[in-house]
Assembly symmetry: C2
Homo-oligomer: 294 residues x 2
């Protein structure tokens, strides 16, 4: 099925740092856009730019043909999708719901089943690329669901991202995002331990970076986060508290599949220690603080 610009009304729930950029890309492309978020003030800019404010999830659901959600934590996703006031009870048959939050794979499957029973099409479609990827519409979008639904929503995904892959049935998008977070988690330990070692050994971290970043030790984290560590910049690109949420989901999912992930578990325990020491609102590069004597 092809979405018609004249007849398709889009909704977006969850106007945070990421959601604001993503919803912004859906504006002014010919589709009417309705938005809702917990803190109305966060939506002011988008409303000024032409988005229509909805008074509730229910009100938004009743008006929209395709609704995207970009929320913080799985309980937020559950609250928006389920219940009498939720999306699924109030979307019309034949419409689309797309959860772009990073959330539990089993919750994505539960949403898919509940949606299907109400003849609503559902995708899970978490992203990577962070605030900059969202702003530049260069997100990687990892999708779970069926091919036909994917094909229908694809033109809208293309307004927000550049690397859009259908990974498999419902939940597969979330599972893929977990793979992404698992690779990052232990990798961040390696990066922080390497540069804490450099500090202890009296090396110049900029020179170490020059020697190692283009070789087998090279990584996005090394090239993008070590310069921030060197500069003493621990501001969030990606929040420690959100990373802990993602790692908890991944560990639970791995456990349920009978897979041990000791590296991930160790990384999570270190991030929890960092959060408990007051670091939950830092960026993930602040893991370095646990190692450094500075």
């Amino acid at each position: 099925m092809k979405l018609s610009k004249e007849k398709t009304t889009i909704g977006f729930v969850g106007i945070g740092v990421m959601g604001k950029s993503m919803a912004g890309h859906l504006l002014g492309t010919g589709y009417p856009l309705h938005i809702y978020t917990r803190t109305k003030k966060s939506a002011d800019d988008l409303v000024a730019a032409g988005a229509v404010w909805a008074e509730s999830v229910k009100a938004l659901a009743e008006k929209c043909d395709v609704v995207f959600t970009m929320l913080g934590f799985p309980p937020d996703v559950e609250a928006v999708y389920f219940g009498e006031q939720g999306l699924l009870m109030n979307m019309k048959p034949g419409t689309y719901v797309v959860d772009m939050s990073t959330s539990r794979p089993d919750l994505a499957m539960k949403i898919f089943e509940a949606a299907t029973s109400r003849k609503v099409h559902a995708l899970d479609a978490p992203v990577s690329g962070g605030d900059i990827g969202a702003r530049d519409a260069r997100l990687s979008i990892m999708v779970g669901g069926d091919q036909e639904t994917f094909d229908t929503v694809l033109p809208l995904f293309q307004l927000m991202g550049t690397n859009i892959v259908l990974q498999g049935s419902a939940g597969s998008g979330q599972h893929t995002k977990m793979c992404n977070q698992i690779a990052i988690a232990a990798g961040m330990m390696g990066v922080c331990e390497a540069f804490a070692y450099a500090e202890k050994a009296g090396l110049d971290p900029k020179n170490v970076l020059k020697s190692i970043e283009s070789g087998a030790a090279g990584s996005w984290s090394l090239s993008n986060l070590v310069p921030r560590i060197i500069a003493g910049d621990f501001a969030p690109g990606f929040y420690v508290k959100h990373f802990i949420k993602d790692m908890a989901i991944a560990i639970e999912a791995a456990d349920s599949m009978g897979l041990d992930v000791p590296g991930l578990k160790l990384a999570k325990s270190l991030y929890v220690k960092l959060a408990e020491a007051g670091g939950e609102d830092y960026g993930t590069q602040a893991l370095y603080k646990l190692y450094s004597s500075k």
Copy 2:
């Protein structure tokens, strides 16, 4: 000081996979090249190409002005450098020794001190880039020692590598290589856990790679070793047994500096488990075998 092509004889000790390529780049550039390695047969190709076979380390030391060593383990380095038959006792004053093996930082300092007391110039200069980097003369060379010695040897380094950085005083090259290995170690856990998770979740690993390799989870290991894992190719680019050696050196050095490196320790324990199960001659990507049910 500038090395003269007419008056400078070069030596190379340790003709393994890496050493053979590296010594090969020093051949035919105008400098006479003497070589020695434990297994004479390994030197046949280089001798055929014009290198001069030396009957012992001592015989080589007596003839050469600059000697490079590329050996397996720190005890090999000690055996080549020290003792009556070793390099240091038999090099002339004013000559140069350069250890390009990955070895202990404290051993590099010990060599530097012993060399200096005999008026021999010493550098530690381990490399990264693997067999391919050695073959293509595109190694990253991480150097410890003094500036003047570095400047003198630099034109020879440039025949073997492209990213050549003086990291600081004696031992700093080895310390930098340890940073490289530390970043890789925990990173490999992350990569293997991510793709073991993908396998358990029933995802297509090629699609997962497509979704995550260009983002924040991206790394050299992800892009270069996961395709080998997917293909079931566990042949060594870099041997598990050598990686364990490096991690042991790094852990010992970190301990001696009062730095805890839990990620590195966990990674080493997993690699030791892999080696004990018969995996020591695999490539480092074989860590995946510990996680995978296949």
